[in-house]
């Protein structure tokens, strides 16, 4: 197994700031917008983005929820890997809001497909956008594209993209791992 660094800490920080600014460009003061981090790995990115919006760019009342898609996955009983569910916590109404899904890596698009179904349990959003740190283009199984992307990569299927966060793994780095 070999791994190479795709983004180092400085690059990650520059990209996070850019993504936050792009969100502000489209959503201004976030009165009609809510952020939803996709469990499990999208949550770290979502929390970082929220922290940047409130601390650095002084936007008040940015609402952030967590959505678990385990029970909405389309590979239940089809994959050998059985995943444990994570916590869903959406303490606000999604009805008529602009929802921004946040996930670390966009790969086949199936997770986002499941999230689109799952979020409907909380109401009918006005619109849904997608923000991801890494976009693995050419790997999509479904017609799903991000509205905000950190970096596009052409990793092949045998490779794995791993995003590490300071709060979890002790460093902000993105690796491409050759399995």
């Amino acid at each position: 197994m070999s791994q190479k660094v795709l983004l180092n800490a400085t690059e990650v920080h520059i990209i996070l700031n850019r993504l936050a600014c792009q969100l502000i460009e489209n959503h201004e003061d976030f009165t009609d917008t809510v952020l939803i981090g996709i469990q499990p790995r999208g949550v770290f990115l979502a929390e970082r983005i929220k922290k940047l919006l409130t601390d650095t760019y002084k936007i008040e009342n940015v609402e952030l929820g967590y959505l678990d898609i385990t029970f909405f996955r389309d590979d239940f009983r089809r994959s050998e890997k059985i995943l444990a569910a994570n916590k869903t916590q959406i303490d606000f109404v999604v009805e008529n809001k602009k929802v921004v899904f946040i996930d670390d890596v966009l790969y086949t698009g199936r997770s986002i497909n499941a999230a689109l179904t799952a979020v409907q349990s909380f109401g009918r959003p006005k619109e849904v956008e997608l923000l991801c740190l890494i976009d693995r283009r050419f790997s999509r199984h479904l017609p799903i594209q991000p509205d905000y992307r950190g970096r596009q990569v052409d990793a092949i299927n045998e490779e794995k993209v791993k995003v590490s966060w300071v709060e979890n793994e002790g460093e902000d780095t993105v690796y491409v791992i050759n399995k």
């Binding site: 678990d68 385990t70 029970f71 909405f72 996955r73 239940f76 009983r77 089809r78 059985i82 995943l83 444990a84 569910a85 994570n86 916590k87 869903t88 916590q89 179904t117 799952a118 409907q120 349990s121 909380f122 109401g123």
Partner: protein
């Protein structure tokens, strides 16, 4: 982790502590799901479940059916009262006929102890025991423990007394297995005539004095006197039973601590507990019913994940 050690849920006797923990963790997620505006997930959309009730049931049947529908499973219902069982069909024949309609899972209640275990040796479908005679009622015990965990934080180390008709109760037996597995201390309390022989061999203590039992416990699970299963008189009169083993508010208030009151339902108000106890904040009877749906969703989901395509 994240997979049950069994293919069927036939009784608590056959599962592990880790299985119980996994079921509870999954139930936590489903409890959040059933409190959403839209309370349904698509996980079991390609699974068909047959509810076979060879014995009467209201809440267990409703709870299972709701759990199945909230998981998007297709559901067929069968009750023995309106079936060919009355015409002399055997259990295996009845079930095989239903299974040939391509059913993946069976939820079964049966008056004979061991009916689920027997069936599991003859059919391929995954079986959930919803009560077999006086043997086991595993999902009831799971939801009882889940409700204790929810109210008191943990089941391990808690003192739980099961009061009433232990002899005829599958709820008591499943609860004893489940509570012991999770490290709780268990006593049983009731008239000597309603205590099974050798009950101590399960690691529980018998306490004939209700007051002493209540002073000792954190949780009292009050069982119903199952008159329909009694072929002889086990105590002189209902009035005498209530005097010795009924819980009223005055008795609870005279204790030096606030204990949790549970009841698997249906309640005989004024017999095992009075109305003011059943409706008090100490009682978690309706929480048990709500948790029943979440726990059954977890059991069905986890068993279904073992049915490969």
């Amino acid at each position: 982790m994240s997979e049950l050690s069994v293919k069927h849920l036939l009784g608590i006797k056959y599962i592990t502590k880790e299985d119980i923990e996994l079921i509870f963790q999954t139930a936590d997620n489903f409890k959040e799901v059933i409190n959403r505006p839209i309370k349904k997930v698509p996980s079991l959309r390609d699974i068909t479940i047959a509810n076979l009730f060879f014995e009467n049931s209201t809440r267990t049947k409703l709870s299972f059916e709701l759990a199945e529908k909230r998981l998007s499973a297709d559901v067929i219902n069968f009750s023995a009262a309106a079936s060919s069982v009355k015409k002399g069909e055997t259990l295996i024949d009845t079930v095989n006929n239903i299974l040939s309609m391509k059913v993946d899972m069976v939820v079964m209640r049966h008056p004979n102890p061991g009916a689920g275990v027997f069936l599991s040796k003859h059919i391929d479908a995954s079986i959930v025991n919803a009560g077999d005679g006086a043997h086991e009622h595993p999902t009831q015990a799971l939801l009882d423990s889940y409700s204790i965990r929810e109210r008191l934080g943990d089941v391990g180390g808690k003192n739980v007394v099961i009061v009433g008709d232990i002899l005829h109760s599958r709820v008591a037996l499943s609860n004893i297995y489940a509570l012991k597995l999770q490290g709780a201390n268990v006593k049983v309390c009731g008239p000597k005539t309603l205590m099974p022989k050798y009950i101590e061999s399960l690691g529980v203590e018998v306490e004939l004095d209700l007051r002493k039992a209540l002073e000792w416990c954190d949780v009292a699970n009050m069982l119903r006197v199952q008159n329909e299963r009694m072929d002889i008189s086990y105590f002189p009169s209902t009035r005498e039973y209530t005097q010795q083993y009924g819980v009223d508010k005055a008795l609870l208030n005279s204790l030096d601590k606030e204990i949790v009151i549970m009841h698997p339902g249906p309640i005989n108000r004024g017999v095992e507990i009075t109305s003011d106890v059943a409706d008090s904040d100490q009682a978690i009877i309706l929480n048990q019913v709500e948790n029943g749906v979440a726990v059954r969703m977890a059991v069905l989901y986890l068993l279904a994940s073992k049915i490969k395509q």
